[in-house]
Symmetry: C3
Subunit: 212 residues, 3 copies
């Protein structure tokens, strides 16, 4: 039987790798060196979780287990050196796929951790899930002076927020099926991101008032 603890660890590692690689891809078109990439990858990979742990007032996860730092650093270095091997045409698609997987995994992780600590139930865990998923990327975009994905036209927050809400619903109403809830939430985020990127799903008309 796959335990929740194992899934938690696996998702953390996969999400860390995905976010570190997304930082390499986010810097494309810029003259940045390896060391800047290492900083940006670390910020992207552990930034959201760092904000989460600070708000929860628990020890920062990467100080408890420094392997996350090594995973982010090695992933960024490999991404940097093998970057030139990639086919340019698919880079943006790859970036979005990798980033979507990372936000799905980190959203579920953040919601779980905040729920277990009883942080502002039931809305707090959803917010911390969204922060865990998007916080590192937002800080990275601010450092790169790049428009944050929060402000883009495509759906970015909405899929994560809905996924975290679904997972929080399972934790509240059917905690014995928490693993199932986590997997369904990840699937929901990925489907919504896929629909956004490939099928141009967007916010319905009533939510799109242009503020003049």
């Amino acid at each position: 039987m796959i335990s929740m603890a194992f899934l938690f660890d696996l998702f953390s590692v996969l999400g860390t790798v995905a976010f570190a690689l997304s930082a390499v891809l986010a810097a494309r078109g810029r003259q940045v060196d390896l060391f800047t990439i290492l900083v940006l990858a670390t910020v992207t990979a552990v930034g959201g979780g760092t904000i989460r742990d600070t708000l929860l007032d628990v020890p920062i996860f990467w100080a408890e287990d420094t392997s996350y730092l090594w995973i982010a650093g090695v992933s960024a270095m490999l991404g940097f050196f093998f970057y030139t091997l990639l086919d340019r045409r698919y880079l943006n698609m790859l970036y979005q796929a990798v980033d979507s997987v990372a936000i799905a995994l980190f959203g579920v992780l953040g919601t779980t951790k905040a729920w277990e600590l009883g942080f502002g139930l039931p809305l707090g865990p959803v917010i911390l899930g969204v922060i865990t998923a998007t916080g590192g990327g937002v800080v990275r975009d601010v450092l790169l002076q790049r428009p944050s994905m929060l402000l883009g036209k495509e759906l970015y927050i909405v899929p994560v927020a809905l996924g975290c809400t679904l997972h929080a619903g399972f934790l509240a109403l059917a905690p014995q099926h928490a693993e199932l809830g986590a997997l369904l939430a990840i699937a929901l985020v990925l489907v919504l991101r896929y629909g956004t990127l490939r099928r141009h799903w967007s916010v319905p008309q009533w939510g799109q008032l242009k503020l003049k």
Copy 2:
């Protein structure tokens, strides 16, 4: 008799509503959807208090009482949907009035909370008051890639800093009149902001060296 605790709660709610509405107005002229507005309104409304509570190392106020999140969210939603009813000519004036009320209320709240915890007296509470009042708006402006009001030519920090200093003075020298100090401090911030916005009060000449 109106108690300090009642004023504290009332100011928190009013300031939250005002900041959430200010976020809707800050996004005017941008193509942002309802969900982005919800994020920006939440950041503006609870961001400064979140930084304050993190520095004070006390539980984050909106996790202790999630009603602040609901108030911010509902205010932002109402502001979003009734936005089109507003007369465009007065929007900037309205934005500044609402924002001024919010920074006055949150400045006094932050100063009070830090003072009661003995955080770096006497300068610490003034700084945390200013952070509580302006931190959420600064983070919002950074996310919107909008020049922060900290850097504008009009007086923005100075009124809040003077109001928080006045309130800290009452807490230090006449704690039995703390309620009076809070009200006078709020009045001082509002008068100085009004003078800035309507009478073009500004920093005196000796404080305006152009750094070439």
Copy 3:
């Protein structure tokens, strides 16, 4: 015998003065008033240490000892009023020298503090050293909407990171020579920064792939 505690205090004060002055110089060419300068100098001088103390979950150093705030404020004020006396030709050089001294001192301080608390050894103290040294400047640059030095072509993170690594090496392998390690680390940062600024040392070719 010069004690570590004395060096720690001396470095803190010198670094605070240097960072406050660097904020005045960072704002050159902008129309900013004295009060904005005070905010920027305070952010630059205590910002990195504030992030460090938040991550370490220890009381914020400037609340424990408010003299850092006064030192930063008085330094910024003197820098502001005597600015016009400075020879314009050397301003950029002066800014870089002052800033280099500050990042060297704060890097060593941050590494020491995190090491003594056993925060994520051995990588954690290096990262917190870099954050202590560069965090305040990064936040200042974000507030000024100025490209962060993290992203510039000159070496900025690398000298600090190498200095913090050297100091962490001494703390791990020869803690009885920690004072020597601190001084060597500071010297290393200054030499590397000097080489960058005067001799145009830069990241080696293999670390400079242009990401297209």
